[in-house]
């Protein structure tokens, strides 16, 4: 009676032996880490006050779209206002602003692996450096801070109180930069030394109000808007402004991204690009998005030669995502979740 079982075990072993023999000469086969290994996470922040945040997955070839991958893999709602995410190792750290938590998931399977709630108060952005997690917290009319956690066990380490807004936070060349500006108000960046977690001297920009700060190739770039011109500042890890690009005649520049040696930025519904080394401001936008003035370019990122934008549809219906080539032709459009605000390559 037991014979067939033994037989099948032998068979299995033989097969295993064969496989391992066969791969011996080749490079070791990499087993797929999960369904979301190759693609882009589309972040849908949801409507404030309801747990309607979600993540849409888009395959790299733009052919496959999977909605609400968090709920699908965990069986529960993700939360209320998904602001951003960052990666470290196999994990993705999702910042849920109005849920007051950082949800940690395996970036390949989107299964939840952990959560941070200690000292989290209306979190905005996140970055990781030197085995620490840094989160900006900014309560409306309330306290502002950067809270720091151990990457290894997510335990709370330290809180640095801020008097100004604490908005975007990036790491560049081993230094943390905190953008003390939001909604077009503020022109300073505070630095934190991750070796000591002490505040280092502040960087003050000469012109414009900061709209967005990003990190690229160990350097910080920030876009600041003035009333007639806007500016892109390049800041070294040491906190020195190493280059200023004046966007002459472009007021209220908001989004900024860097891809393939080019700046991509937006003003109103228009998207422009220019070489990072150029000094002449482009006059013709590559994309002019249609739709509600503000919500037409609610989400904006440039990834591997493609411009990803979202129209949040006035926040009363699902967002419409449009992917453009760098010359402005539409490659794909599709619907994501409520209030799509960002695109992250996985």
């Amino acid at each position: 009676m037991k014979f067939p079982k033994i037989l099948s075990s032998v068979l299995a072993l033989t097969l295993l032996f064969n496989i391992s023999c066969r791969t011996e000469s080749d490079e070791p086969i990499e087993l797929p880490k999960g369904a979301y290994e190759n693609g882009i996470f589309v972040l849908n922040e949801g409507n404030f006050g309801t747990p309607s945040a979600s993540v849409t997955f888009l395959s790299n070839d733009l052919a496959t779209i999977e909605q609400d991958v968090y709920k699908k893999n965990n069986g529960t709602d993700l939360g209320d206002v998904l602001q951003t995410l960052t990666y470290n190792g196999d994990n993705a750290y999702l910042v849920l602003n109005n849920s007051n938590k950082i949800t940690v998931v395996n970036r390949y399977t989107f299964k939840k692996t952990g959560e941070i709630t200690a000292q989290i108060n209306q979190p905005r952005y996140i970055t990781i450096a030197n085995n620490f997690i840094y989160v900006t917290n900014d309560e409306y009319l309330g306290p502002k801070s950067v809270t720091i956690y151990k990457l290894s066990d997510l335990s709370f380490v330290k809180k640095i109180a801020f008097t100004d807004t604490a908005e975007r936070i990036v790491e560049a060349g081993g230094t943390i930069f905190v953008q003390n500006a939001t909604f077009g108000f503020g022109n300073t960046l505070t630095r934190i030394n991750p070796a000591t977690n002490e505040v280092a001297p502040v960087v003050t920009l000469p012109n414009g109000n900061i709209n967005k700060t990003i990190s690229n190739n160990s350097t910080v770039y920030t876009i600041a808007a003035g009333t007639t011109d806007s500016y892109i500042y390049q800041i070294s890890a040491a906190g020195t402004i190493t280059k200023t690009t004046t966007l002459t005649g472009i007021s209220n520049a908001t989004n900024l991204d860097i891809d393939g040696g080019k700046y991509y930025f937006s003003s109103g519904n228009k998207v422009y690009s220019m070489d990072m080394s150029a000094t002449v401001t482009p006059t013709t936008p590559i994309v002019t998005a249609t739709g509600g003035q503000y919500s037409a370019l609610y989400g904006f990122n440039v990834i591997n030669g493609k411009i990803y934008t979202s129209d949040a549809n006035g926040f009363t219906a699902d967002s419409k995502v449009t992917v453009y080539s760098t010359t402005g032709s539409v490659i794909k459009t599709f619907e994501a979740g409520r209030a799509t605000n960002g695109f992250f390559q996985n």
């Binding site: 747990p51 509600g292 003035q293 503000y294 919500s295 009363t316």
Partner: protein, 608 residues
């Protein structure tokens, strides 16, 4: 109870036929005398104390189960707004004893910030009423009435109820009246932990507690056969916590304080009836984005109002009505950029009522509003009723209605838009009333077209700002079948309503969110001597929650049923039991906010 019911219907008929309103005033004084005239032409459901006591949780529950209105409620007891005939909450007027009390900041009322038991009667009027009731009366109006009686002696009622989720609900009402004087005092109190679970939805109504209290003082004095002075005052205080979805979310709360006082001087002779009113209304709200901290926004509003309603009865066939109104609105915001704004507003309206024969009635009205710095349209209304035969009458209504922008629409900083125009609507309905023995059937198809609807959307800087952008077209059908029969010690009542609504944004040709296409509600009760049993049922069809008609996020249709009984145990005592949501239906009226599963309440009513 029932006798009283019939008596008042008979009375109403008398009034309709002859304009002889003094008859009614001698018996029960209701502050909103215009409502009686409207009853002839528009569909008005009257919900008296016995109806209200069948849904004691809040006004949302009463309207959901006993009227045609769709109620969007953010969890039991939380923010709740009505929608009539496919319109919005701002297009519904809340009328307190004849006066429009929509918030001058929001332009709408929050149903759950009104104490249900603070009113003797609720009336629900479908269709436009801006000529008489002013801004916001586009889709319909909800009338909250207090009444005063003469010649009734001393009466006191105590009601006390305890229900699931630690809900306590009570009122004490005491009145005295003789030939000359009528005084009524009442106090109401509601409190609930409201911490219900809906495990299937993985939902617990965290931070859902609420409590509110209300105090009313009413008095009327008959100076002589021609003059009566009356006064109605209400003080309300409510604390509402807003539900959150997990323990880590910051808890919020909302405090509302209201003070309303109204003086009426009623003069009437055979030919003339004049009602002069002075009112002072105060509304204060405070929002706490963090329950443990100081308020994060708020506002206080003051309204001074004078209104004169002059009715000249030429003869049995013809009457003229002139209404003049002036009000001063003052608003002061907190953290909203609104600092001491003021607005003068006034209106004049004229109505002609013509009854060429007993079988035919007409009413035509014209109104012009004067609102400081805002353009307002000339409003009109026309109604006609023909009693075709003893079992059928046909009614036609057409009107132009409007809503002027609220203080938030105009002055909220940043975002407020001083260039806003008033929303306007054109509408018509055709009522068919059938009566056969103990049955009454009302079938009213309607059509509404709304222009310049004010909508808040983010502008280029990401700041939410209102503008006149939407046009909405809505049509549908309201119908209701009623049956009442008495035989011996038995009394049976039954009513069934069906509402079909097709409401679309004209630009996008998509259905409006939170307007179900189909709603059915039914109420049945049977009384034998000292015991009464009753049941309520409500079916709500698929309801979109987004502007893209997305099925995935639409509310699924649901059927909810409640049942209860009450027993008179002694002459003055009645005890009652009720089970809500008998079939444990899992349902939402606002996405993400499920309402409670089966729950219970027990109550005691003492009349002495």
């Amino acid at each position: 109870m029932n006798l009283k019911h019939h008596f008042s219907s008979v009375l109403l008929c008398c009034i309709s036929m002859s304009f002889a309103q003094e008859v009614a005033i001698d018996t029960v004084y209701i502050f909103d005398s215009q409502l009686k005239n409207s009853k002839k032409f528009q569909k008005i459901s009257t919900l008296n104390e016995e109806d209200l006591l069948k849904n004691t949780a809040n006004i949302s529950d009463v309207l959901r189960f006993q009227s045609s209105v769709y109620i969007k409620e953010n969890g039991r007891g939380a923010v709740s707004s009505p929608s009539f005939r496919g319109t919005t909450a701002q297009q519904t007027a809340f009328i307190w004893n004849g006066i429009n009390v929509n918030s001058i900041f929001l332009g709408q009322g929050d149903i759950n910030n009104l104490n249900l038991l603070g009113y003797d009667q609720l009336e629900v009027k479908s269709g436009g009423g801006s000529v008489i009731y002013g801004s916001g009366a586009i889709g319909g109006s909800i009338h909250m009435n207090n009444e005063l009686a003469f010649n009734k002696g001393f009466n006191t009622t105590l009601f006390s109820e305890f229900g699931s989720f630690n809900t306590f609900n009570s009122f004490l009402k005491s009145s005295y009246s003789d030939e000359k004087l009528s005084v009524k005092v009442s106090g109401n109190f509601v409190k609930s932990d409201n911490d219900y679970d809906v495990p299937e939805k993985n939902y617990t109504n965290l931070n859902g507690e609420y409590d509110n209290r209300n105090f009313n003082l009413g008095a009327a004095y008959r100076i002589n056969s021609k003059n009566t002075i009356s006064w109605q005052t209400q003080i309300y205080n409510g604390v509402q916590h807003y539900p959150i979805f997990s323990e880590s979310v910051t808890k919020t709360k909302y405090i509302a304080d209201t003070f309303r006082s109204l003086v009426n001087w009623n003069f009437h002779t055979e030919k003339v009836q004049n009602i002069f009113r002075l009112a002072y209304l105060e509304d204060e709200f405070q929002y706490f984005s963090n329950i443990n901290k100081a308020k994060s926004s708020g506002g206080s509003a003051k309204i001074y109002l004078a209104k004169n309603d002059f009715n000249y009865i030429l003869n049995e066939k013809l009457a003229f009505n002139f209404i003049g109104e002036y009000q001063l609105n003052k608003g002061q915001g907190f953290q909203s950029g609104i600092t001491n704004v003021e607005r003068n507003a006034g209106s004049i309206a004229g109505l002609v009522r013509w009854n060429p024969s007993q079988k035919v009635n007409f009413e035509a009205g014209l109104k012009k509003d004067f609102v400081e710095a805002i353009e307002t349209p000339v409003l009109y209304s026309f109604s006609g009723k023909v009693n075709v035969n003893n079992w059928y009458s046909l009614i036609f209504n057409a009107s132009k209605n409007f809503r002027f922008p609220s203080f938030n629409d105009l002055y909220w900083q940043p975002g407020g838009n001083l260039d806003l125009k008033s929303e306007t609507s054109l509408q018509a309905d055709l009522g068919n009333r059938f009566q056969y023995k103990n049955f009454k059937l009302n079938v009213t198809p309607f059509y509404i077209n709304i222009e310049n609807m004010i909508r808040w959307l983010p502008n280029s800087g990401g700041i939410w700002s209102p503008s006149n952008i939407n046009n909405v077209e809505s049509y549908g059908l309201e119908s209701q079948l009623d049956f009442v029969k008495d035989f011996g010690k038995n009394n049976a009542k039954f009513s069934l309503g069906y509402i079909y609504t097709n409401s679309k944004n004209v630009e996008t040709n998509r259905f409006l969110s939170y307007v179900p296409k189909n709603k059915i509600f039914g109420n049945a009760s049977y009384r034998y001597d000292f015991i009464e049993i009753y049941a309520q049922g409500m079916f709500n069809g698929l309801t979109f929650t987004s502007e893209d008609e997305k099925l995935g996020s639409a509310l699924k249709s649901y059927f909810v049923m409640n049942a209860g009984l009450h027993i008179k145990i002694l002459k003055h005592y009645q005890i009652g039991f009720k089970a809500n949501n008998l079939f444990d239906q899992i349902y939402e009226t606002t996405a993400y906010f499920p309402l409670p599963k089966r729950n219970y309440a027990a109550n005691l009513l003492i009349n002495f």
